[in-house]
């Protein structure tokens, strides 16, 4: 019962938190580029405006796909805060991510087609990393349940420092930050215009934006599990991680998907391997 209440609260407030975080993100990015930047509420204004626009769709699949993506993202956040099983959360989130790609593939625009292919490769890159992170948590705690991980007495980051870096890669890809922002980026005018989001417009783009906020909250939630023993350190960890993301975003150039697949799988698998051996050795 308590889990259900937590889940409902999370589903209601996660978009607000995600939206404000996106606004803060743009503000800090502007500061790094010596500009003033938009107000903190900007991301929420953008979404509200998109909800008020005319509904233009290429086909009905897009409507379904945008909604399924949103509902899956909201459900995974709800399940996370209800302290359910990490594997279930992972599968629900992955199903939603695939629907975003399907919606983009249903339109015949080359921009959205290539964007969708790249998004699929991004999913292929970060999902194994996420699974490895969850497995490493299982190896330490002995359970996939978020409630058991939260109840564990010492911070996980002490035993899984390398897995934390692996999660950092997944977070950077999921937040669509450079150097991994080639399926779509926060600003248009890249080589694919808006990539996977090109053919979504008006209210359906807003749904995807809200779903993106949910996913941001989910991945930051997973990050928070690494130091769940104290609120103070958890918050500090999240702030540091997000600032590092912004720094990476502003100092890196966009790379290619081949590089991403080689680099993230190479480094990610190597780090996981070392961390798993270390867990056994001690």
């Amino acid at each position: 019962m308590q889990g259900l209440i937590f889940a409902i609260i999370a589903v209601v407030f996660a978009p607000v938190a995600g939206g404000l975080l996106a606004g803060l993100d743009r503000r800090v990015t502007a500061w790094m580029q010596s500009r003033q930047g938009p107000p903190i509420m900007q991301a929420i204004y953008d979404a509200a405006k998109l909800f008020g626009k005319e509904k233009l769709v290429v086909n009905r699949w897009q409507i379904l796909c945008a909604w399924v993506y949103l509902i899956a993202a909201a459900m995974s956040v709800g399940l996370f805060f209800a302290q359910a099983d990490l594997l279930i959360i992972f599968f629900v989130q992955a199903a939603g991510a695939v629907f975003l790609v399907m919606g983009a593939l249903s339109a015949r625009s080359p921009y959205s087609q290539i964007g969708a292919q790249r998004e699929l490769i991004q999913i292929l890159t970060y999902e194994p990393m996420l699974i490895l992170v969850f497995v490493s948590m299982y190896l330490v705690v002995g359970s996939f349940n978020v409630s058991d991980i939260l109840a564990y007495e010492s911070p996980l980051i002490a035993k899984l420092p390398l897995m934390f870096i692996v999660l950092g890669y997944a977070l950077t890809i999921k937040l669509r930050k450079s150097p991994f922002d080639f399926s779509t980026s926060h600003h248009g005018h890249q080589e694919l215009v808006k990539g996977v989001l090109t053919e979504y417009s008006g209210p359906f783009l807003a749904l995807i934006e809200v779903a993106h906020w949910y996913e941001t909250v989910l991945i930051l939630g997973v990050t928070a599990l690494f130091w769940a023993t104290s609120w103070y350190w958890m918050l500090l960890l999240l702030v540091c991680v997000y600032f590092a993301e912004l720094l990476i975003d502003n100092t890196m150039a966009r790379m290619t998907w081949r590089w991403m697949l080689r680099y993230v799988w190479g480094i990610g698998l190597a780090l996981s391997f070392i961390n798993f051996i270390w867990l056994y050795a001690r």
Binding site: Q42, Y45, D46, K49, K53, G188, K194
Partner: protein, 145 residues
């Protein structure tokens, strides 16, 4: 309440799409200058999008000719309403010094309805920002009506 918030948001988040309709690039450079840290239009929530399906405001520079009038109309029709069009520079307004050329149709308003005219050769970035802000006022009235 929610409707009021959407109307307010509309004025706070105009995404612009810039179409060079055969300009000499003078006005284009000034338009893109608005996005630099010096003018930083993002503080008003303005973003330059490359996709008409995401745009609220269409900025058109240069005079329309017979080859690109269908492109201009196509871009305009792909934008979901409510939308606004701003013609920039002497050429966008009337055809400018090219108005008598055999291949020139004239100003942007010969092809699509224009809401705000920003004169100048080239138009200054301040004038362009002013034009977008003016278009936003029209925008809210459009919604109310």
């Amino acid at each position: 309440m929610f409707k009021g918030f959407i109307d307010k948001s509309r004025a706070k988040s105009p995404w612009i799409m810039h179409f060079d309709c055969g300009s000499c690039n003078g006005c284009d450079i000034e338009t893109l200058a608005c996005l630099t840290p010096l003018y930083d239009v993002e503080r008003f929530g303005i973003i330059n999008v490359g996709n008409p399906k995401h745009a609220d405001v269409l900025l058109v520079t240069g005079c329309v000719n017979h080859r690109n009038k269908s492109v201009l109309r196509n871009i305009y029709e792909q934008m979901p309403s409510p939308k606004a069009v701003i013609a920039i520079g002497a050429c966008g307004l009337t055809g400018g010094i090219f108005r008598d050329c055999y291949n020139v149709v004239g100003g942007v308003d010969k092809v699509i309805p224009v809401d705000v005219y920003v004169p100048g050769c080239p138009a200054r970035p301040e004038a362009i920002i002013d034009g977008v802000v003016e278009a936003l006022n029209l925008f809210q009235q459009k919604q109310a009506g």
